[in-house]
């Protein structure tokens, strides 16, 4: 199958079935979807529709039962654990709903840590971390520990960390679920700005209609299938 280099992510007929005892749960039931470079896409759908499952598969945290996933022109399906780890480190930025940052590290160190794993030299790490933290609106908070940051600020650190490694795509699973709506919208505004300014490709899942407003494309899932795909 041909794929144009413009597709950042291609999901081709992907299924994911969980077996719980004798029960089979079809979290994804043969889904196909392509995301372009620079997209800012929301993943919507009721609880249990497969949003998290899909994001985990794209991010190589789990592998599909069948189907293929191509990321930035490279086949992801069937990679070894170690290759998947490399892929996550260099190609994927993650923002989770909660427990995103490492408690013993300051905001700056959290951002630096991924670059440390990537082997970026110390000086460059610090410079890049400082710049990105300023950009996400955390100037003056570089040296705060997570315990000294609000939930919204912690999520901003997570976004900064996801972006700083220069990934192909940032996957955010309900990044605003633990925030009040004003803070959530602030976070989304910031993410949208990063998408525009830096051209980072984002895909995030959400239940929040206000948050969906920021997306240029909304993909709705239902029972493990795409039920609606709207681009504004």
């Amino acid at each position: 199958m041909e794929h144009t280099p413009n597709h950042m992510v291609e999901i081709i007929d992907v299924s994911k079935t969980y077996t719980q005892g004798k029960l089979e749960v079809h979290a994804l039931a043969g889904i196909s979807l392509a995301l372009d470079r620079g997209e800012f896409t929301a993943l919507a759908g009721p609880s249990g529709s497969g949003k998290t499952t899909l994001l985990n598969l794209i991010g190589g945290l789990d592998s599909p039962s069948c189907g293929r996933i191509v990321l930035d022109g490279k086949e992801v399906t069937g990679l070894s654990q170690s290759r998947l780890a490399d892929m996550r480190l260099n190609k994927i930025g993650f923002v989770f709903q909660a427990y995103n940052i490492i408690p013993v590290l300051s905001a700056r160190e959290n951002v630096e840590y991924v670059m440390l794993m990537q082997g970026v030299p110390a000086k460059e790490r610090t410079d890049r971390a400082r710049a990105i933290l300023d950009e996400v609106g955390l100037a003056n908070m570089h040296d705060r520990r997570p315990a000294e940051l609000s939930g919204g600020q912690q999520q901003r650190v997570a976004v900064a960390r996801a972006i700083v490694s220069r990934p192909a795509i940032v996957l955010a699973d309900e990044p605003t679920a633990n925030l009040d709506s004003a803070t959530g919208q602030g976070l989304l505004e910031m993410m949208a700005k990063m998408n525009e300014k830096r051209g980072v490709t984002f895909i995030f899942s959400t239940h929040d209609k206000m948050v969906m407003e920021y997306a240029r494309r909304i993909v709705r899932l239902k029972d493990g299938l795409v039920s609606d795909d709207t681009t504004k």
Binding site: A85, F94, F96, E109, V114
Partner: protein, 410 residues
């Protein structure tokens, strides 16, 4: 940065870290302190034994060891003396003796004893003779009639200084010889048995009493104290002497002379190793358990790190680094405590409160604990090496946590 991160992780839960550290510190401390005490007891036992007329090396007639009678004597001690004077290290000392079994008797009592003929000028400092005079005085050179006995023997014979004691033994002509000696003084020894066993007369008196001419039964050599435990050097010195000495002499080290003691000392070594293991096993349980708890508590964090692209080997390394930090701190503190304890006891521990018990094992009254480099290294190596090994389990466990299961972990 790794070290910094691990360092912070170590202090994340100060209470738990405190518990682990306490375990390591107590482990290292007791290992060192008990090790030092054991060494002290071994040394005390050994020096006691060597002081009781064994010395480090003895030169004897080859048959004397199996049949310690005056027949089996060195007939030309002058040649032996020449060799010893030339080939012994400067800080070593030696003296000739005649040492045979006999019977001492007076009107009240009669006991089998060991008659020791000594050179009064040279014997002091070589053995316990002259260390601790209880009553009267020591033998003067050329004293043909005097005898020095143990205080306990004096008491059991119900006699006193100035009275006579008859010695009886077999002389060089295979006749029974007996002679009355005048008690000049009494000595005290670490052990009562020693006081009752040995009676001292001058070498000259012994030679004439036993009709041995200028013969002696042994030359006793004492090497510098600090080389006592250095068995290799001892064997080397003995070998060198054997090469130089004339035919018809046997060179015996204390290891040859006291094989039982040697065995007992090696047993001590094994006991110590066993003790290390017992302490370590107790410590290891605490260490693994607490580390495992610490790791499981951080399941979400390890899941996150894995999601971010950290490889299992990296996670294992980080957890091991944390263990290493804990072990290093614990060992440092344990070593300091151990040395401080030994320093505090450097005046020696008076064992006389258990005199009966310790005498049975031949331990002296004063035990000075000390730490040898070998013990220090083995304690630290055991704790460090096995400690890291034991941490491998929680570390691998942390490395196996997957992001997906971590996320469902609350």
């Amino acid at each position: 940065m790794h070290l910094q991160v691990s360092w912070r992780n170590v202090w994340r839960n100060p209470k738990r870290t405190g518990i682990i550290l306490t375990a390591i510190i107590i482990g290292a401390w007791t290992m060192l302190a008990f090790g030092a005490l054991s060494r002290g007891m071994m040394t005390s036992t050994l020096s006691n034994a060597l002081n009781t007329l064994t010395g480090h090396i003895q030169i004897q007639h080859p048959a004397f060891r199996d049949d310690p009678v005056i027949d089996n004597r060195l007939t030309a001690p002058a040649r032996v003396a020449d060799v010893l004077e030339q080939h012994l290290p400067g800080n070593a000392a030696f003296a000739f003796r005649i040492q045979v079994n006999g019977v001492a008797s007076n009107a009240r009592n009669s006991e089998s004893i060991t008659i020791v003929g000594i050179d009064p000028a040279k014997e002091a400092g070589l053995s316990f003779y002259g260390d601790n005079t209880a009553q009267g005085k020591l033998l003067a050179p050329g004293d043909y009639r005097g005898i020095v006995v143990g205080q306990a023997l004096l008491d059991s014979f119900e006699t006193k200084i100035g009275r006579k004691l008859v010695l009886m033994t077999r002389d060089a002509t295979l006749e029974t010889a007996s002679k009355a000696f005048k008690i000049r003084g009494t000595f005290r020894a670490e052990m009562e048995a020693t006081e009752k066993q040995f009676v001292f007369i001058t070498l000259d008196a012994a030679q004439s009493f036993l009709k041995a001419g200028t013969g002696v039964t042994s030359a006793c050599i004492k090497l510098p104290e600090e080389t006592t435990m250095d068995l290799e050097a001892l064997a080397k010195t003995a070998k060198a002497l054997a090469r130089e000495l004339p035919e018809g002499t046997a060179v015996l080290t204390w290891v040859d002379l006291l094989p039982l003691l040697k065995g007992y000392l090696s047993m001590f070594d094994s006991f110590m190793l066993l003790w290390y293991l017992v302490v370590f096993v107790a410590m290891a349980f605490g260490l693994t358990n607490t580390m495992l708890m610490a790791v499981l508590e951080r399941t979400r964090e390890f899941g996150l790190l894995k999601a971010l692209g950290m490889k299992p080997s990296w996670i294992i390394r980080n957890v091991l680094l944390e263990c290493l930090i804990l072990l290093a701190i614990g060992l440092a503190a344990g070593n300091i405590l151990g040395f401080a304890t030994v320093q505090a006891l450097s005046g020696g521990i008076d064992m006389s409160f258990m005199a009966e018990g310790s005498e049975f094992f031949g331990i002296g009254h004063l035990v000075i604990p000390y730490i040898t480099l070998k013990d220090l290294l083995s304690v630290n190596a055991v704790i460090m090496g096995l400690g890291v090994l034991v941490c491998l389990y929680p570390a691998v466990k942390a490395g196996r946590i997957t992001p997906v299961e971590a996320m469902s972990h609350t």
